[in-house]
């Protein structure tokens, strides 16, 4: 128990004194995972809506593939992205392995299926007659899609939160494609792994607590927006 209390105390200390290293790591986590979430939101919500609304052969197969993708193991994603980005790999010319950009790509690959999957469920959960109703009122297809997305905004926000939660807490892919380079690609999760390896358990716990706080803050804001709307 002692170590755990020390960890909480140290987290508090690091936050209050605005420790520059911890601050930098925290901001980088936010920046990388925020960007990945944004990308996955754009790709996931649009493709999820498309899959949910369109009728095509093999739709069930596609949906179950996406649902499987929601559980993509981050290390596997990390391994594939690393191999693609190797100097001598197909995208080696980009020279982005072991950079924050590579981490954003890997995290986006993890988050896109999560956002897509929940989006599909959300759109399919809307009353089936709603589409006909909207169309019969003279809306164009684009207008109809827009209205449906507005109608499903609460679960769509949940999709974004799930995507963010998935990537901010992820370590396997980040450490592989980012390399945990000090001041460059070291984020909260990879720093926690390293400090555990170094035996600095208090610091590792402190970083973990800061990570939880960060996730709580971000999803808190989203939840407030979401729940306020619901009350009406």
């Amino acid at each position: 128990m002692g170590i755990f209390l020390d960890g909480i105390w140290q987290a508090f200390y690091l936050l209050v004194t605005l420790d520059p290293e911890v601050l930098r790591i925290t901001l980088l986590s936010l920046q990388i995972s925020g960007s990945a979430t944004l990308i996955s939101m754009l790709l996931g919500i649009s493709s999820g809506t498309a899959v949910a609304l369109a009728e095509f052969p093999g739709k069930r197969v596609v949906i179950s593939l996406i649902n499987t993708g929601m559980g993509l193991p981050p290390v596997v994603v990390g391994l594939f992205v690393t191999m693609f980005l190797w100097r001598n790999g197909p995208f080696g010319f980009l020279e982005i392995l072991y950079t924050p950009v590579a981490m954003v790509i890997a995290q986006a690959v993890i988050a896109v299926p999560i956002v897509t999957g929940i989006t599909i469920a959300a759109m399919q959960n809307l009353p089936p007659n709603l589409r006909l109703q909207i169309l019969s009122l003279g809306a164009t297809r684009i207008q109809m899609v827009w209205i449906l997305m507005k109608e499903a905004r609460l679960p769509l926000l949940a999709a974004v939160m799930a995507g963010f939660g998935g990537v901010i807490s992820e370590v396997g892919a980040s450490i592989m494609v980012g390399g945990n380079i000090k001041g460059f690609t070291r984020v909260l999760t990879t720093a926690t792994v390293m400090e555990t390896g170094k035996g600095n358990f208090e610091l590792a716990i402190a970083l973990g607590i800061i990570l939880l706080l960060l996730a709580f803050l971000i999803t808190g804001v989203l939840t407030i927006i979401q729940q306020r709307e619901k009350r009406r």
């Binding site: 901001l27 980088l28 920046q31 925020g34 960007s35 944004l38 190797w86 100097r87 001598n88 080696g92 072991y98 950079t99 924050p100 950009v101 507005k150 905004r153 926000l157 390399g179 945990n180 380079i181 000090k182 001041g183 460059f184 690609t185 390293m194 555990t196 390896g197 170094k198 035996g199 358990f201 804001v221 989203l222 927006i225 306020r228 709307e229």
Partner: protein
């Protein structure tokens, strides 16, 4: 629909902040030429690289990307030309690596030694045993738990050699467990399970306080832990940053760096973690 407006506002603010942050920070570092250093975990876990790398970066203007994995994985990266310079401690594999033409130059940097650590109760009664082979035989005979790295790291390679020298087939035995983790974590597992393990002295000293494991066997010439720096062969791998790799290798064997290595850890642990050896011959070590 003012909720929609709120969501939109939130998104716009988030996007603006993110865009701003990308413009401001680490992306700028990309313009600097980087050197990929593939190394063993012990150089990072002891904190040595945290001291040396900022000095190197300041001096040369290169940015070092340290990828701390086991020596085995570091050399695997080298064999694919995915690193510019290696700092490793697995001499037999290194020789094969050089022979195959992957490296351009291999230089001695420093050494410390491996130790066999275990619980103070010492169920196999190995404390004070002079020869590592005898100690391992005793562990095997008493079937006491031995925790192995099992990750093809330099330490694991050394450990396999020691078992071979002791003529014991440890792999597959019930009392022999492989963690597949780094040195620090493997030490923690050994401490938790009250098992024996082979560790490099640097990592052990750095973690000693939290472990409750004692040094039981040390000083055998077979237990030397030798670190070399290897520059990659630019002729074989045209994409390798030869200038950067050479600069780092030169830096590791430079006089001032060697001086820092010599005193590193003395203040914190009471004894040095590494002994600088640049320019010496491997055969002269440990005498």
């Amino acid at each position: 629909m003012d909720c929609n407006r709120k969501i939109t506002a939130f998104l716009i603010v988030a996007m603006a902040l993110l865009a701003g942050s990308w413009g401001a920070s680490p992306a700028a570092a990309q313009k600097v030429k980087s050197v990929i250093l593939a190394t063993t975990t012990s150089t990072q876990d002891t904190g040595l690289l945290d001291v040396l790398i900022p000095i190197f970066e300041k001096k040369t203007g290169f940015m070092v990307k340290t990828i701390a994995v086991g020596s085995g994985q570091a050399m695997a990266m080298g064999r694919k030309g995915e690193a510019d310079v290696l700092l490793v401690h697995s001499p037999d594999d290194e020789k094969a690596f050089m022979k195959a033409g992957f490296g351009a130059r291999r230089r001695l940097v420093m050494h410390n030694d491996f130790i066999i650590v275990g619980p103070a109760a010492d169920p196999a009664k190995i404390k004070g045993t002079k020869k590592s082979a005898d100690a391992l035989k005793k562990i095997a005979k008493s079937e006491s738990l031995f925790v192995s790295r099992g990750d093809n790291s330099g330490t694991h390679a050394k450990e396999k050699n020691l078992w071979k020298a002791a003529a014991v087939k440890a792999e597959g035995q019930k009392w022999y467990q492989q963690t597949g983790l780094g040195m620090g974590q493997t030490l923690a597992v050994a401490a938790e399970k009250k098992g024996y393990t082979l560790a490099d002295r640097g990592t052990y000293l750095a973690l000693k306080k939290k472990l409750g494991l004692d040094i039981l066997v040390e000083g055998d010439a077979k237990l030397l832990n030798i670190y070399h720096v290897i520059e990659l062969n630019g002729k074989k791998f045209p994409k390798v940053n030869v200038a950067g790799g050479t600069a780092f290798a030169d830096f590791m064997v430079a006089k001032e760096t060697q001086k820092i290595i010599k005193t590193f850890g003395v203040e914190k642990f009471g004894s040095p973690l590494f002994f600088p050896d640049a320019g010496k011959r491997v055969e002269s070590l440990g005498k």
